[in-house]
């Protein structure tokens, strides 16, 4: 059944695929970073006792979590240029380029998921820790940054990384707006050379090897964490 399987098309296009992979990895790492930062902020807002903070954060998270990622990508592709025109005041501003639009879309989308992870992480720190911090005279900011968040993030490292692996797989969806991430590159070669079988199976293999090793690593980390204390 693999007669006529053309391995050459893969080796020929390796440099191009590598460029795509760099795009995928860059998008993953940056939106993970942005998503965790924004997610932390959202989590703190959601946990706030002020409704003016918790309600909008809750609404944002629930809205994003109910919307398919592809639709979110479409949304930001549409909204980012408009926002740029508003901000720069230049009616002919062409936006900030497809990579940054994708980065903003993924950051905003992932922030909703990271928010829920981080919120659970903060809630898993015993309440007594917060009380002890306040009893020592620390204010909210110090209690959070020095006492609560460090403990929460320590517990969350494996699950944050797992979400990162999911994010890496999700970046393949930038295909829908024609960007050349790893999957986009594989797909373009596949179409150009009429080698769909080879390219898609190769893409699957690469994704599998990367994600499998990464999740294996996370699992080992998890075991070390759970036995370490």
């Amino acid at each position: 059944m693999f007669t006529g399987f053309d391995f050459d098309v893969i080796s020929r296009s390796l440099p191009y695929l590598w460029q795509g992979m760099l795009f995928s990895l860059g998008l993953t790492l940056l939106s993970m970073l942005g998503g965790i930062l924004l997610g932390t902020l959202l989590a703190l807002m959601r946990l706030s006792s002020f409704t003016v903070l918790s309600a909008p954060a809750g609404g944002y998270v629930n809205l994003l979590r109910a919307t398919p990622l592809i639709l979110v990508i479409f949304w930001f592709y549409f909204l980012v240029p408009i926002a740029m025109k508003k901000i720069t005041g230049d009616a002919y501003a062409t936006g900030i380029g497809p990579f940054y639009s994708a980065l903003i879309a993924f950051t905003m989308f992932e922030a909703a998921y990271y928010c829920e992870i981080i919120r659970a992480g903060i809630q898993s720190v015993p309440r007594g820790q917060g009380h002890a911090a306040y009893a020592l005279g620390l204010n909210y900011r110090l209690a959070m940054t020095k006492i609560i968040l460090p403990q929460a993030f320590r517990n969350m490292v494996p699950i944050l990384l797992t979400q990162g692996i999911i994010l890496f797989q999700d970046t393949s969806l930038v295909y829908v707006v024609g960007l050349t991430d790893f999957m986009g590159a594989a797909s373009k070669v596949a179409q150009r050379d009429g080698r769909l079988v080879e390219m898609y199976l190769f893409a699957a293999l690469v994704y599998f090897l990367l994600c499998f090793s990464a999740s294996h690593f996370v699992r080992r980390l998890q075991v070390r964490y759970s036995t370490g204390r």
Partner: protein, 242 residues
């Protein structure tokens, strides 16, 4: 903002743009529900296999879960649609390429179903494994066979425990169904984009699609919470057991 665009006659198909939205919603629901049936059945079997003491049963289930979980859904979608017809035996490949009815739709259903099965399997496995081992001992000690222990003790409790995570898996399948647009299924997201392209009413088109997704999410969440309350075990708190 002008939502009256949905009442205008559509570019094609004879109806209005609202009909496009409704048709998209219908396909989104059809893909999600049929895929969920596959995911639930296959995932349950795999999840149970992963908890058995027999390595020959566990190993293939583990391999399945690892493979389907570590390849992006989009890639799997393309493999079902573009690759599979080329690598299956010739007669079947020809059938898939020329005579298979609605190939985009059915490939999307199968892809999404078998992909989500790996996630359902993990939920079912962890649900069963969260039941204290003493429950299995108690069942075996009274003379039940291992199959009977699953049937009467582990599965009834396990499924109750996993209702919340399975609800979110169902919501995930429903959102993931939008990936079917990459192989040409005109589901809700695809229709929203299409309407935006024909009418330049992008904001309105995406808003309507988003609202429908949110509404369906709400309905499913409320429905599952009702189910959860209905099968709740009196006096039993949470899944942690004792």
């Amino acid at each position: 903002m002008d939502f009256s665009v949905f009442l205008q006659p559509a570019f094609s198909g004879g109806g209005t743009y609202l009909d496009w939205v409704l048709s998209g919603t219908k396909w989104t629901l059809l893909v999600s529900i049929l895929a969920w049936i596959i995911a639930f059945i296959v995932g349950s079997v795999l999840g149970v296999l992963r908890t058995t003491p027999l390595a020959v049963l566990r190993a293939p289930a583990t391999v399945y879960v690892e493979v389907f979980r570590n390849v992006p859904l989009l890639v799997q979608m393309f493999i079902w649609y573009f690759v599979l017809p080329e690598i299956v035996p010739l007669g079947m490949g020809d059938w898939m390429k020329t005579r298979m009815p609605m190939p985009e739709f059915w490939n999307a259903v199968l892809c999404l179903g078998f992909y989500t099965a790996s996630r359902v399997a993990e939920q079912v496995r962890s649900g069963i494994q969260s039941i204290p081992i003493g429950q299995t001992y108690a069942g075996l000690a009274m003379g039940l066979t291992r199959g009977q222990v699953y049937r009467h003790v582990l599965l009834p409790m396990g499924y109750r425990i996993v209702i919340p995570p399975l609800t979110s898996e169902f919501l995930t399948i429903f959102k993931n169904s939008s990936v079917a647009l990459t192989i040409g299924v005109l589901e809700l997201t695809a229709q929203a984009r299409q309407i935006s392209e024909y009418t330049f009413r992008t904001f309105e088109a995406f808003t309507v699609a988003t609202v429908i997704y949110v509404l369906i999410t709400l309905v499913v969440t409320v429905g599952m919470r009702t189910l959860e309350n209905k099968v709740r075990v009196p006096g039993y708190i949470g899944s942690a057991g004792k």
